[in-house]
């Protein structure tokens, strides 16, 4: 079945897989090909995409998952608020790291803004 993970800014992943595991407010669930059409809200956690022995893991901070189609043409779409490759991290670890990166990039943004102001002010004084 065709699986795609889409965030508001871009398509994060797309490919074929055998099973998708994700987490809704009611708990973790798995989707196999031909699953009855299914629409779930997602809570922060991992979306695991399994294909044979390989597994791709993504951290999503929330969103919705839709599974539908016929047996031959089945698709699962994850509309994630934010998604990134989680590697081998556990759910807790991945969430923690994401929060940390967020803080860092915010601080970076602020730092850059300050730098720009500092660079611009002599120009401004000169008039």
């Amino acid at each position: 079945m065709n699986v795609s993970i889409v965030s508001p800014e871009k398509k994060v992943w797309e490919g074929e897989a055998e099973m998708v595991v994700a987490r809704s407010p009611e708990g973790e669930f798995a989707i196999l090909r031909g699953h009855i059409p299914f629409l779930a809200a997602l809570v922060p956690g991992l979306v695991k995409i399994k294909s044979g022995s390989s597994e791709d893991r993504f951290l999503v901070t929330g969103g919705v998952l839709e599974a539908s189609g016929t047996r031959d043409d089945y698709h699962v779409i994850v509309l994630a608020d934010d998604a990134e490759d989680a590697g081998d991290l556990s759910r807790e670890e991945a969430l923690r790291q994401m929060a940390e990166r967020k803080r860092e990039s915010d601080a970076e943004d602020r730092g850059e803004a300050e730098l720009r102001v500092a660079m611009a002010s002599p120009e401004l004084r000169r008039g």
Binding site: I36, F38, L39, A41
Partner: protein
């Protein structure tokens, strides 16, 4: 004479250095358009899937009824989200959007509430003593979903609380590299027909969905995200438009400088020629006077 030459020369070199700057800005803008365009198209799948999903939910959940979808009987106060750039030097880009927004405010004559994204809009409306409670800057260069979320949430909150009865989004739509047009779209209440009417039945009868949790709750999760996606799309298009407008403005400035330099060079050469001619005349005149004097002596 020589002083006039110096003045012209100085002007030429000043125009040249301006031209260097405008050309650099033009090149930077061109490279940014491509990236901004890519971001616009990268964000499209999400918006499309979201719209389709909302259609699905709306159909399966029967009569959808949600605060964000409900049209108000009486419109007392209108919210307007205006997306502009943080920087100028982009031709009429900023003033076009602002003009559309302001005209809209004046046309409906109702009370207003402004949501301003972009320094240019903030400065404009602040200067004219508009009430600018909600404003953001630093987003226009590379709008992120977090930025769109902040704006969308502020608008949704004001709408849910009943502070405004309608919200519009004014931004510059990126139609192509050549044309960008300021447009006004309705943001809230979410225009229902956008996802309820359309298409289907596509692949035969579709079996009913299983929802987890209930359809109403899913709708609760979907609608704000749909709104955020719409705002993000607007911001991304506005950003692409900004770069396109800046590139055009800077190209015009560069060409203009080129022409100015040509003209000034022509004036400079003429003046120089005139000076040389005068000098030769002086020399010849002097020599002639001397030979004239020599002949008389002989």
């Amino acid at each position: 004479m020589a002083q006039q030459l110096r003045v012209i020369k100085r002007r030429i070199s000043s125009v040249k250095s301006t031209q260097k700057i405008t050309r650099a800005m033009e090149l930077i803008a061109s490279s940014r358009i491509i990236k901004a365009q890519q971001r616009v198209s990268a964000a499209r799948p999400y918006a499309e899937e979201m719209r389709r999903l909302m259609g699905t939910v709306a159909k399966k959940a029967g009569n959808i009824d949600h605060p964000l979808l409900k049209e108000r009987d009486e419109i007392r106060r209108v919210g307007t989200v205006v997306i502009t750039a943080d920087r100028g030097l982009a031709g009429a880009y900023n003033s076009n959007v602002i003009r559309l927004a302001e005209r809209d405010l004046q046309a409906h004559g109702k009370e207003y509430m402004l949501f301003l994204a972009g320094k240019k809009a903030v400065n404009y409306f602040k200067f004219r003593d508009y009430d600018c409670e909600h404003s953001w800057t630093g987003m226009s260069d590379r709008p992120k979903i977090e930025d769109a979320r902040e704006v969308a949430r502020a608008a949704a909150e004001a709408f849910s609380k009943g502070e405004v009865d309608e919200v519009r989004l004014v931004y510059t739509r990126y139609e192509s590299a050549m044309t960008q047009r300021p447009v006004k779209v309705q943001l809230l209440p979410l225009p229902k027909d956008e996802f309820t009417s359309e298409e289907e039945p596509s692949r035969g009868p579709q079996p009913s969905y299983v929802f987890e949790p209930e359809p109403e709750e899913i709708l609760d999760a979907l609608l704000p995200r749909y709104l955020e996606g719409t705002v993000l799309q607007g911001m991304l298009e506005a950003s692409a438009s900004e770069h396109a407008a800046r590139r055009r403005a800077m190209k015009a400035a560069t060409d203009n400088a080129e022409e100015l330099i040509d003209n000034l060079t022509r004036v400079y050469n003429q003046a120089r020629q005139a000076e040389i001619t005068t000098e030769i005349m002086e020399v010849v005149g002097g020599a002639e006077a001397l030979t004239g004097a020599a002949i008389q002596e002989a």
